[in-house]
Each structure stands twice: as C-alpha cells, then as structure tokens.
Amino acid sequence: MASQTRLRIKTLVMVLAMVVCANVGDPMLKRGMTTIGAVEVSASGLAHAFRMTVTNATIWVGIIFLIGFMVSYMTALSWADYSYVMPAGAFGYAVLTLLAVVFLHETVSPKRWMGVLLICVGVLLVGQTKPSTTTSPAAQKVAA
C-alpha cells in the first residue's frame, strides 16, 4: 500500500514537471521565433535563421525547458504506464486556460470551460487507476 502511494506521488511530481516545462518552454520558443521573423526557405535564409536561433537567449531558455519536459517524460515512463502518463500530460491545456484567466484576464468561452472541465475529470479518472500495471524488464532482472 505504502509503495503504491509512493509510486503515485512520484508519478504526480513527474507529470507536474512535464506540464510546467512544456507550458513554459513552448511559449518561450514561440516568443524567440517571433523576434527572428519568418524563415526564408533557401540555403542563405536557413543559415541566417540558424545563426539568429543559436544566439537568441529566449530560444535557449525555451530549449532548456523542453529538455526538462523530455527528461521528466522519460523518467515517468521508466516506472509508470504510457496510458497513464499520456492523458495526464493533457492537464497542461487546463493549466494554460486558468493562467490566461488569472494573469492575462482573458475571456474564456463556455465551450473552452467545458473542455477544461472534461480534461480535469478525465485526468482525475485516469489518476485514480494504478500508475503501473506491467513489470519492466529491468525490474524483472533485479527480482531474479
């Protein structure tokens, strides 16, 4: 029982890290790419865009957060089910909407609120199932 609780808590921590990293990284990358402007699809245009990209601090911050997302995702998958982690990651859509209302004072349509509600209920339903239903080959090796 205690090990199930521990498993649930550490999976929740990783899913939260995934949601935070993706929701900070994506807008940073978008903001950085907007300052560079439209990329011209030619050898010189792509080379110019590459130079602008690697010297842009906002893009680097975005990349670091997206690496953080990837590491959290890989870590969660090392013990939890894919069918548990994947829908839980969608919680980010709900967080983004709430942040837009609280900090940007955006008006959210009833359709969008309904979507947020469905995501939250869906994540809660998935969250109350067992995080891991398979035995990993690495765990089998340890047991042997």
Partner: protein, 124 residues
C-alpha cells in the same frame, strides 16, 4: 480536408504513438533512476540513450513533430489540434495491445474525456 492533410495527420498520429511506445519500451528496459536527484538522473539518462529503443523513438517523434509543423502551415490550429487529439485514443490502444498495459474502464473513460476536452479547448 485534402488527401495530403489526411495523410499528414495519419503520419502525425502514428509517428507520435509508435515513437512514444518505442520510448516506453526503452525506458522500461533502462529501469527507473535510483533517486530523483541530479546525479542518479544523469546516470539514468546515460543508460537511456544507450538503449536502441531510444534511437527508434527519436526519429519517429521528430517525424511526428515536423508533420505537425507542416500541417499548421497548411490548416488552422483549430482543425489540426482537435484532429491530432485522436492520438490519445490510438496511444491507449497501442498501450493495451503492444505494451500489454491493463487499460480498465476508468482509464478508457478518462482518455475519452481528455480527448473530447482537448477538442473543445482548441475549438473554443
């Protein structure tokens, strides 16, 4: 929807599903980090990138990502993201039949609600 859009949507959904399934195989074979601290995490990452499944997953996920970029340049986001939300259902089918995970009624209901929620959020 043009045949090209439908084809790229299929590439996007299959690429992300099979890429993430390959990543799950890789991470399960790697085994979880000893502790959630920087050093054990770095050791875990070192072991993970030495796993062949990791290198199967990365090109598939990259293919899916580039399909998304091309689709977004062809079609409005309000069409692309709701359509790609189907990957939650395809991914759960993959988890059940390929990864042999136990997907009970509550998990299926949750996945379908999340899928419908993502469609509504993007269209709202």
């Amino acid at each position: 929807m043009t045949p090209g859009t439908i084809f790229l949507l299929a590439v996007l959904i299959c690429g992300s599903t099979f890429g993430e399934i390959a990543m799950t195989f890789g991470m399960k074979a790697t085994g979880e980090p000893a502790r959630l601290r920087p050093k054990p995490l770095l050791i875990f990452l070192g072991r993970a990138v030495c796993n062949a499944w990791f290198w199967v997953a990365i090109p598939l996920m990259a293919l899916s990502f580039y399909s998304l970029l091309v689709l977004l340049s062809w079609q409005p986001i309000s069409l692309v993201i709701p359509a790609s939300a189907l990957s939650y259902v395809v991914g759960t089918l993959g988890a059940k039949y390929i990864l042999k995970e136990e997907v009970n009624g509550a998990r299926w209901a949750g996945v379908i609600l999340v899928c419908a929620g993502v469609v509504l959020v993007t269209m709202g």
